[in-house]
């Protein structure tokens, strides 16, 4: 319910703000899809991935290369590019998954990091295809009946994709499949004893996360208008992971909040004050110190405190608000 209200609020408020805020919100939403995909792995499956930017990169580079080299994806075929981006990213994840899923914990982190850097290396060095470190400039956004060059129209498009992604991922994590992922996160051995093929479960989750990463990439390419190795570099993966943790891992929506907060601080606050980095750093540190469950953990904490305060004052068990 509240998620719906918040979504509607975003959809109504943002287009009425100034165009810079619209731009930022569009970026935050496009990136939030990637953050949610990280959360599927981190929060629901217990796999901390440090290579998620690779899938964003595949989607973004596919979009940019098709658009600039083949003029493909600038009309109705934009929808085909969406599919291509998702399929490419999922295919890449399917390959990387074979290598990465065998490990867990820190080792999984290291393998995904290494694989992500391979993609970065390709983007950086394959000059003829990717333009090297200069990146690829997009020339305009697709037009099909509606003109996406208009920032507000484009905002609604990204918002639409974001909402659908959120819904799909929400359904996914609530499904029996999602429940078994949570089971793997809690105790993999027990799940194995219960007869689950945990490897396959993790692998499928990894590929699905990659697919959403690809979608995020396609949207990102058109949002930013430029695709460069900066999008695939390790810090982008770290950003995504931090945003998920900041908002609260294992909540999906937490990642969205994280994305909005980080984009807000990094891109908006930095236009107002030069010391924005301290604020961002403080937010990270304070969150990790005091809110290990992320910002989404705040209401639960407040409730807990109220409950315990109530217990002390009234000397009886406070009922949990429902």
């Amino acid at each position: 319910m509240a998620v719906l209200v918040a979504l509607v609020a975003i959809a109504v408020i943002v287009p009425n703000t100034n165009s810079f805020v619209i731009l930022l919100a569009t970026r935050a939403l496009a990136f939030a899809i990637l953050v949610m995909s990280v959360d599927i792995l981190l929060g629901y499956t217990g796999l901390p991935s440090l290579g998620q930017a690779a899938y964003l990169g595949i989607g973004a580079y596919a979009t940019a290369i098709l658009a600039t080299k083949y003029q493909f994806g600038l009309g109705y075929d934009f929808w085909l590019v969406i599919v291509i981006g998702i399929v490419f990213a999922a295919a890449l994840a399917a390959v990387f998954g074979l290598l990465a899923i065998r490990a867990s914990g820190v080792y999984f982190l290291m393998i995904t990091l290494a694989l992500g850097q391979c993609v970065w290396g390709l983007a950086y060095r394959w000059n003829s295809l990717t333009g090297g470190d200069n990146g690829i400039n997009m020339r305009g956004r697709p037009k099909f009946g509606i003109d996406l060059a208009n920032e507000i129209t484009f905002f609604y498009l990204v918002f639409g994709f974001f909402a659908v992604s959120l819904l799909l991922m929400y359904i996914l994590v609530r499904s029996p499949f999602g429940r078994s992922l949570a089971g793997i996160r809690e105790r993999e051995l027990r799940m194995q004893i219960l007869g689950y093929n945990t490897w396959l479960h993790k692998y499928i989750a990894f590929v699905i996360a990659g697919a959403f990463g690809g979608l995020s990439g396609v949207l990102w390419a058109h949002t930013a208008g430029i695709v460069s190795p900066e999008n695939v570099v390790l810090t982008t993966s770290v950003d995504a992971l931090l945003m998920a943790v900041l908002g609260g891992a294992g909540t999906l929506v937490g990642g969205v909040i994280g994305s909005f907060i980080v984009f807000g601080l990094r891109e908006y606050l930095s236009t107002l004050v030069p010391w924005w980095q301290y604020v961002l750093g403080a937010v990270y540190v304070l969150t990790i110190f005091y809110l290990p469950t992320g910002l989404m953990g705040i209401p639960a904490r407040i409730r807990q405190r109220r409950a315990s305060a109530g217990k002390r004052e009234e000397g009886k068990v406070a009922s949990v608000p429902s």
Partner: protein, 419 residues
Amino acid sequence: MTSKLLRRFGPLVLGGGLVLGMSPGSTGSADELRIGFVAPTTGIFAQVGKDMVDGFQLYLDENKSDFGNAPVKFIVEDEQGKPDTAVTKAKKLILQDKVHMLVGGLLASSGYALAPVSTQEKTLYIPSIPAADDLTQRDLSKYPYMVRTGWTSSQPSHPFGKWACEQGYKKVVAIGADYAFGYEVVGGFQKAFEDCGGQVIQKIWPPLGAKDFGPYIPTIKAEADAIFTLMVGPMSLQFPKQLAASGNKKPVIGGGTSYDEFVLPSMGDEVIGHVSALQYSAALDTPKNAEFVKKYRAKYGKVPSYYSESNYTTAQMIHELIKKHNGKFPGAEAAVKELASMKVDTIRGPVSIDEMRNPVQNIYIKKVEKKKMFGYDKDELWNTVIKTYTNVGQFGDYKKEDFLKQPVYSRDFPPCKHC
């Protein structure tokens, strides 16, 4: 599952949206001139960004931020050295601050990212530092609202190649940072050097930001007469040290950023005698430059680099433009036209703009020397000018048409025929 938590959290999200939404979009008064300046003020390039801002600011301070009856509002935005951030900030400057023009960007990738924004928003863009060749060469037609006041990467390399021939060098090994700027500086040198009879016998590409050149230095071919280096930032400091430690006796020459004033004060005596080429040297012995160096140093405590000079000069050119129009900004289209036909006497020497909107200027061949200059009482490293090539355009001695037919300089172009 989480809907209970969200019920509490929803208002926060909503509130956040409202706060963002209500923040006022400043729209300045009509007669002031708003200049949006994009430079990295945080991150690994923050110090370079500071030089850029300081250079521009110095000119504004000298003129009390008043360009011929137009009060100047100078808005600096942090691009963090990332192209997408540069785009976001440029859009903020255009959409929210309603700037008349965009100036700056540091890396070539920022230049490539900002130029399309200027086309899309029909706003004047002046890349004062980004030196990517193709901005004013093969891609020029895409960017009708852009005029460059800095340089192209390969511009100093063309006369430098000729100079290397004159020194009698026959075989040169090139070692350069592995990215587009490196390819263009090395490529320009290779083309000019081979066209006057020299041979580049080896090209080595250490990754950008490399700190240990141990794996690369021993592979330098022994029969080389000289070593051409193109380093940037911390690489510039590390490479000469390790090269000297390896017992190198060959002459070392290099692209401008290997020895520019940004890195020179932190360098050791091992770089004395190294020669490089650029459109500016702080040791340029003209009264104008002496005054500039003294003023800049008194104010910011360091010798100006080409990053400072280029932005100071850019401010000067904008001033010239606005003066002509009595304090009014003539609009992006007219501004491009007028800037492109401008001839200015700048700190770095006479500058005019060619028909592809890139400066035609002096290129200085500079040798690092330890000496006293401008009345400072300590021995310091300076880039002493040993030869000046006047009025060098971006195509050097080559015909524009022929030059544009070849691909842009890259890792594989010009091909290493003598390797």
